[in-house]
Every structure is written in structure tokens, then in C-alpha cells.
Amino acid sequence: MISYCSIEYLLVFLPVVFLGYQILPRSVRRYFLLAASYGFFWYLSGPLLLWHVAVCLCVWLIGLRLRNLLEERDAAVKAAERSERKAIKAQCAGRMRRWVILAGVICFGILLSLKYTPFFVDNLNGLFRHLGIHVQMKVPSFAVPIGISFYTLQAMSYIFDVQQEKLEADRNFFRLTMWLSFFPLLMEGPIARYGTLAQKIWNVDRIQGENFQKGLWRILYGVMKKMIVADRVNSAVELLYTDFAKYDGGMVFLAAVLFTCQEYMEFSGTIDIVIGTGECFGFVLPENFNQPFFSKTISEFWSRWHISLGAWLRNYLFYPLSMSQPLKNLTKKCRARFGNHYGPLVTSSIALFAVWLFNGLWHGAGWSYIFFGMYHFALIVTGSFLAPPVIAFCEKHNIDRKNFLYRLFQMLRTALLVTIGEMFFRALSLKYGLLMFARMIRQASLQSFADGTWLKLGMDLQDYVIVALTVLFVFVISLLKERGCNVRGSLYAKPVIVRALITGLMVTLILLFGAYGAGYVPVDPIYANF
């Protein structure tokens, strides 16, 4: 599959778009960018882009309808008596809700039909078999447009924001479509909100030298992560996840570690390319990662990993559910019964359950993804329930929770839990994930490291060394960022020759140590199918 790391994108498509964008007059530039985005979509998904156009039309029209309703409401409220205003507002809210539901039915309907129907039908058939009902439906198979899960959430965020009056619905169809189809965001996000991006793209300001240089560095940094680490470990990951039964627990753990490493480098590397592309144009795209492996808890991890998805779920699922009247009432009762910590925890757990079920299913139509969501739900809820006794324990034994060693322990514990979760995520199915986990525990052994099995996975010692050095380099950059250092800003302040040397060095390191050409199979974009 083509990726943002491919030659087609980096050396053909991107230069042509940059050049066209820079030389065309402003009035044409935005349509050129729109055409480039749809051209890219067509290249990836062919006629399936019509589904995307349908979603754009749907949210544009429903957005306009919501805007009209709000304008009508404001006019009516202005003209009405004070006593009638509440009723008018309530009536308008009800009508708006129906339009929002319609938008949800259309957008999520397309997503569910194309992506989840085979999963549901397959499970229904299984249920019928289990119940002895002799009805078996044909499991359909649909071609799914690239990035459907990303642009569906993005489209719905627009509708919700219009409903909640956080923004005014856009009358300009092309501006809305440009935001929903902007080519760097198509495959793996991040899920960008309309309010922060649409107008900026629509302004189509000229490319500035500083933005371009910094964007280019960010792109090269992403390519480095993907080609040196993610692609290099691919053969070992493939082998270990396919034939895990041939290896002992140590190798299964290695599989989990390598995949976690691969996924982070692939996903965050792609996001670096995406954000770097935006930066070259002068557009600030939302960050999707904030040094996730410095997290001390699973909750914190999810506020640093795939940030745009977490924010979407928090804003449009968790908060509305938590603030719903039934849950508010329940919170009140629980608070009275279980106290101020555990009371609200019970009700927030209900909202969290919905969030993590959605999160798991969003990642893919499969039980392993649902399990992945439930695994993190269980960890977060357990963490919240255990927080008071842990604090009490630490205080009782004079353990300083701000101490470096204690924080390091928390980070390693979180990383370990995440790694185990990723094992289920990558496993061929939930059954295989459970078997891998069982093997990792029951056959825990370091024998495979002693007898050299770990060097027979399509990676030799030099491969492990270069992967480790690159991970170390990324760790140092992350550490600098964590401490608030603006790495690229500092580098840009250096003389031109130093900047040229940095660019040249990055390109050289990628071409020298990248895993490409004969003998390597690059990893497909892991999140592109979501």
C-alpha cells in the first residue's frame, strides 16, 4: 500500500503540489490544493471517493440547516416574551437534535455499513449456529475508502460543534470540503477540528522559507522513524506473530516489544510527515503524540498517544454522556453512598465503558480490538479505584511519589502494560492474542536469547543495534521536547551551512540505514485501514 513515506508521495506528489501551490495565483491556489487532495484520494481509493463526497455534502447541508434553525431561534427569541424564550430554545434544540441524528445516521451509517457489516454478519451467523438456528447469511465484503474512520469523526465533530454553537456552519462548500479532504490528513489523521484549521487552509498563504525548512526537517524525522525502525523490525514482527507457537515466552515478549516499537515509530513517524507537510504550507495541524512513553499511568498515556482521537472521544462521547441527566442523577446517589472519590467513579466508569468500547471498535471490526478497548478500560478504572490505597500506602511507608525512581517505576509499569495491550492489538485474532499471552507467562524463558534464536528472525545483531540507536535518538529528542526545548527552532537559528549539513545528514542517514530495497518488506501504514 502507498504510504506518506513512499517515493510517489515524497518525491513526486509533494514537490509537484508545493511547486504548483507556490507559483499559482492565490485565487486559483485553493482550488489547486482541493484538486490535489481529491487527486490523492482518487489515487488511493479510486471511485470510493464518492463516499467522501457524500459525507461532505451531508455535513455541509445539515450544517446549513442547523445554522438556519439557530438564526430562526435567535430571531424568535428576540421577538418573544421572556417567559416564552425557554420553550423556543427547547423546541429549537429538539429540532436540531433530529438533524444531528440524521447526520450521524448518514455518516456513521456509511462507516458501519462498509467497515463493520462483515463483522456483524459473521458474528450473527456464529450466534445462529450456537443457538441451533439454521439460518446463515452471506458475509458481504466491501471496499472501504481510505481513512474513512478518520474523516467520519472529523465530519461529525463539525456537526456537533455547530449544534453546540462553538462555530458557525460554513456556507462555503469548498472550504468545508478542503478541510475534510486535505491530503496529509486523509490516511492516518490527526483528526483536526474545523475551527482550528479550515480557515487557515482556505487562506492559502504563500510558503515561507522558515516554515518550509522546519516542515522538511519534521518530514525527514518521520521518514527516519518509519524507514530505519518500523520497516527494519517488520520481518521479525511478521514472523513472531505468525509463528509464535514455535518460540518460547521470551520471544513472545520480544514480539510484543518490537511491535510496540514498530507501531509507535510508524504511526508517530507518519504523523511527523503529515504535520511536517502542513508546516511546509504554513498550516499548524494538531499534534497527535506528546512523548507517550513518559506517561506514569494509562490515563496519562491516552492523553499523550493518539491525542486527537482521545480528544474527540472526550469531547463528543465522554462529556455528553457524563453530563446526561440519568448519569448526573446516578452520580448524586453514588456520591451519597460511596463518598466523593468512589461515587463519581462509578458513574464515570459507565461513560468510560462506552468510550473504550467505541475506541476498540473504531480501531477495527474484530474481537481483538474490542478486547484492546476493554483492556485499557479495565486498567484505567482499576487505576482510579486503587489510587487512594496506593497514596495511603506510600504515605504510610514514607515513599516519595515525586521521587525520580518512583516515577521511573511508574513509567516502566505503564510501558509494560501498554506493550501487553499492543500484543492483543497486533495478534491475528483474539484467540491468538490470548494464546500468545499464555505462552509468554507459562513458557517464560530467556533460552532463545542465549541460543541465538533472536538473531534468526530476519534481523541480525547490527539490525538490533541500529534500531536501538535510533530509538535512543528519538528518546533524546523526546526528552528535550518534554523539557520544553524547541529543537527545530534552535537549529533554524544556526547559520545556513549548518542547516544544510543537518538536512544532508538526515537524508544520508535515512538512505544509509533505512530498510528498503531487496530483502525488506516495508510495513503497511498500520492506522490507514482504520
Partner: protein
């Protein structure tokens, strides 16, 4: 001045990057066409060690080409010089690059393209890598950072290792073709094997590159039960006609080249063994010599060192 201020950093960056890539290219390129020097396809590149313009016929392609013809055999029997530049699992974009390299060092009378390679799939990415490797060999040799030798830091590439087998891959194994393969081998058909647009483009490019240098081109299909079909034959025949080059399919010439698929193959009908190669050379040598008017160099002292004197060593290799 403002314009210059914008342009200078761009050119400086490009120049510095190119310089660094050149440096690592020199470092990673094997310093000789020998396995010991880290060359993965040393045999195919042995023509660089031959005196300039001393080769009459070059054979390009994948493993089918380097297992079906032995240049030493042709020289011994028919007197003209040839070289097999075939590389295992090669693609047309790589063959095109090889053709460019050959034409840089030699001016042969004939360039033979073995047709199995025409159907090997490849992408624009592969093509880009192949072209980039011409300018920055690190693109091809990047994995050599793992096995750099002391000489890699102290010397420049100099391919002077004269290959005894002239690119031929010898094998005396006999591993007969299974009957089910023989049953479907060259079943008559009017259909055509699909050919990718990029492959067609490269095929035309190779022919044009050779023509520009006044080198004739021959499309040739070597016998292979596993790889060859009538569909492929039809496609190659069409392409040859379009390009105006001759096409010879040895799979159809069972009387002239009587391959016994129980004895003349080393790997179940995929490639020929030494006996199969000899049958091909026995017919192809005289035919090439006559058709293309190739000169007989036997007895010419200029060819003693690299050809006549090496024949005995060659016989030892293949026996």
C-alpha cells in the same frame, strides 16, 4: 539580492546532501567485483574487467539468462565473445540500468534480452531506486554498512576481477520436471499474458538505448517449463513486432534444442543445468554467428588471456 538570499540555501542544501551521499556511496560500494569484496552480483559485473569493446554479444535478463547460455562454451565452439549479465530475480528497470552500464564500457554487435524478465513485476519505486543507484550507489549498497571492510575506507572501486564463467551460473544437478508441469507446458493458446505499462515502457527504452548506439537487439526466450507459456510467447511476439526486433522462442524449437526435461533441468523445469545449457549453445552459437556475422576470435592472441587460456579452468568449474 532578495531572490539570491532565497535560492542560496536551497542550492547549498542540495549540494551538501549530494556531497554526503557521494561520500557514503564511495564508502559502501564494493571495491572489486568479487564476493570477498562484498559484491552480491559479482559475476554479472565481470564485464567491467574485460578490455573495452572486446565483447560481441551481451545477454541481459534474470536467472533464466545466466543458466541457459555459457559464453565460454560459445567462444570455444564458435569463436565469438559474449557475456551473461543476468541477475537473479531481476526486473526490467534493473536490466535497463545494466544495459546503460554495458554500453558505457562496450560496443557489442548484439544485445540479447531474455524475455522471462519482461514479466517480472516491479513498481515505480523500484524503478526510481534503480535510477538513483546510478547516481548514488549507496541506494543499492546501503546494507553494506554492516559488513564494511578495511579496504572500503582506503580504496576506490576498481572492477578488475576477470570472471572465468563470464556470468554463467553452472549446475550439474538433475532434478526432473514434474509431469503436471509438462502437461500444461506450452499448451497452445491465442490469449496474451498481460504486460504492465511500465514494463512496456522500459522494454522500448532498452531497445531504443541500444539502437542509439548502433547495437542490434534480439528478444530470446530460454526453455523453462515452470516459467514459460504460450501466452507469454504471444505477448513477446507482439512486442517484438511492434518494436521491430527479431524474437526467438527456444521453447517452441524442440527439434533444434531438444531439451529432455527429465535430465536437462536442475530444479524441476525452472532452470537448465549444464547439459541443457550445452544443447542451447549447440544451436544458438552457430545461428548467432551466421545471422549477425560475428567474428571468430579463436587464434587471436588479444583474446588469449581472458578467453583461450581460461577455458581449461572453466571446464574444471563446470565438471
Amino acid at each position: 539580492m532578495k531572490y539570491l538570499k532565497k535560492i542560496i540555501p536551497v542550492f547549498l542544501t542540495l549540494a551538501v546532501t549530494a556531497g554526503m551521499l557521494w561520500l557514503v556511496s564511495v564508502l559502501t560500494t564494493p571495491k572489486n567485483n568479487m564476493q570477498e569484496a562484498g559484491h552480491d552480483t559479482w559475476a554479472a559485473f565481470g564485464f567491467e574487467a574485460e578490455p573495452e569493446n572486446s565483447i560481441d554479444v551481451f545477454l541481459l535478463g534474470d536467472s533464466e539468462s545466466r543458466t541457459s547460455i555459457s559464453p565460454m562454451e560459445l567462444f570455444h565452439n564458435d569463436g565469438f565473445t559474449s557475456y551473461c549479465c543476468g541477475v537473479n530475480s531481476s526486473t526490467l528497470c534493473e536490466v535497463s540500468e545494466m544495459a546503460q552500464l554495458v554500453l558505457k564500457y562496450h560496443h557489442p554487435k548484439l544485445m540479447i534480452l531474455e524475455c522471462n524478465v519482461i514479466f517480472s513485476p516491479f513498481t515505480w519505486q523500484d524503478a526510481f531506486e534503480a535510477v538513483s543507484a546510478r547516481f548514488f550507489p549507496v541506494v543499492h549498497w546501503h546494507n553494506r554498512w554492516k559488513t564494511l571492510l578495511p579496504q572500503d575506507f582506503t580504496s576506490l572501486p576498481d572492477y578488475d576481477n576477470v570472471e572465468v564463467r563470464k556470468g554463467y551460473y553452472h549446475s550439474a544437478y538433475i532434478n526432473e520436471a514434474p509431469p503436471y508441469m509438462l502437461d500444461r507446458y506450452m499448451q497452445p493458446s491465442e490469449e496474451r499474458e498481460p504486460l504492465a505499462g511500465i514494463s512496456r515502457w522500459y522494454l522500448k527504452k532498452i531497445v531504443n538505448d541500444c539502437r542509439k548506439q548502433g547495437v542490434e537487439v534480439l528478444l530470446l526466450s530460454m526453455p523453462s517449463v515452470k516459467n514459460w507459456t504460450s501466452l507469454k510467447h504471444n505477448t513477446c511476439s507482439d512486442e517484438a513486432q511492434k518494436l521491430g526486433v527479431p524474437y526467438v522462442d527456444l521453447n517452441e524449437m524442440t527439434e533444434e534444442v531438444p531439451i529432455d526435461w527429465n535430465l536437462d533441468t536442475r530444479d524441476e523445469g525452472d532452470h537448465l543445468n549444464n547439459d541443457g545449457m550445452k544443447k542451447v549453445c549447440r544451436w544458438l552459437g552457430p545461428w548467432l554467428k551466421e545471422t549477425y556475422g560475428l567474428e571468430d576470435h579463436r587464434g587471436d592472441s588479444a583474446y588469449d588471456k581472458n578467453w583461450t587460456d581460461l577455458y581449461e579452468e572453466y571446464v574444471e568449474w563446470i565438471s
